[in-house]
């Protein structure tokens, strides 16, 4: 299936939920957060949140920044 992740289309092979998607993308940081189709998904619900072809996903983390 093809997902739009952080603005880029990406082929996803083995994930049907957000927790597995993070593993497939090799994102292991505990300090990331996900929005699915413009809605922020609580970290406690990643496993139960299914992804579907064409979904728009944002995966963010903290970076240096001031103002």
């Amino acid at each position: 299936m093809v997902l739009k992740i952080n603005g880029k289309e990406k082929n996803i092979h083995s994930s049907d939920n957000l927790a597995d998607l993070l593993l497939e993308l090799e994102i292991v940081s505990p300090h990331c957060a996900i929005a699915l189709n413009q809605e922020v998904i609580p970290n406690s619900k990643l496993k139960q949140t299914k992804v579907h072809n064409g979904d728009n996903i944002e995966i963010v983390h903290a970076v240096g920044g001031g103002l």
């Binding site: 992740i5 952080n6 603005g7 880029k8 990406k10 993308l25 090799e26 994102i27 292991v28 940081s29 505990p30 300090h31 990331c32 957060a33 996900i34 929005a35 413009q38 922020v40 998904i41 609580p42 970290n43 944002e58 995966i59 963010v60 983390h61 903290a62 970076v63 240096g64 920044g65 001031g66 103002l67």
Partner: protein
Amino acid sequence: MESSQFKIGDRTFKSRLIVGTGKYASFEETRDAIAASGSEMVTLAVRRIELDKAKDSILNFLDPKLYYFLPNTAGCFTVKEAVMTCQLAREAGLGNMVKVEVIGDEKTLFPDNEATLEASKILVKEGFQVLPYCTDDVVLCKKLEDVGCSAVMPLAAPIGSGLGVCNPFTIKLIHEAVKIPVIVDAGVGTASDACRAMELGIEGLLMNTAIAGAKDPIKMAFAMKAAVHCGRLAFEAGRIPRKLYASASSPLDGLINTP
């Protein structure tokens, strides 16, 4: 000598300096400059993870036992973007105190005050402790207090400009008008600016570029730590009033006479 502690929301601080973590040459320099600043709260931005790059994180260089995190909404131009960024920051484990910025003009980076007020209102209702970046407008700051913000953060000059405190009188008026802490945010260029800002009686000062952009950020961080402390002590000590004419500080009695 210690100055008094201060409180924002449910957090208590000894240091009145809050520092940003942007614009440093490396994570190591960020860590060292922040340690030198003595700050207890640091701002962070929230951005997309770069999927195909090494995923080292600034959080590996900032001990959460030493620092409170203050995620910001820098770069947001709409209420929706700002609210969503705060929600993401909370899910990313950065806590529920947020610095809300909704930028209204790219050239000056002045905030969109109307959108800032709206975003603050929504975020307070969602349980966030909101610290909004705003212009030096007394009425706006009172409205931000009314909707439940934990502090107000009026600018002293445009972000990154280093112009110093261009508006000491309005900052003072804001400080008189609201009961929540006033944190001056943006505009400081060097240590004397920081000192002068603190002498106005504001509760705290937030800066990034003045330290990160200095030739020697670590040394400037030390200077800012001292300046903020000195400014606060001077405010608490109470300065003498300004007078037009001289007033001798040696006694006039007992002067010698010459023929």
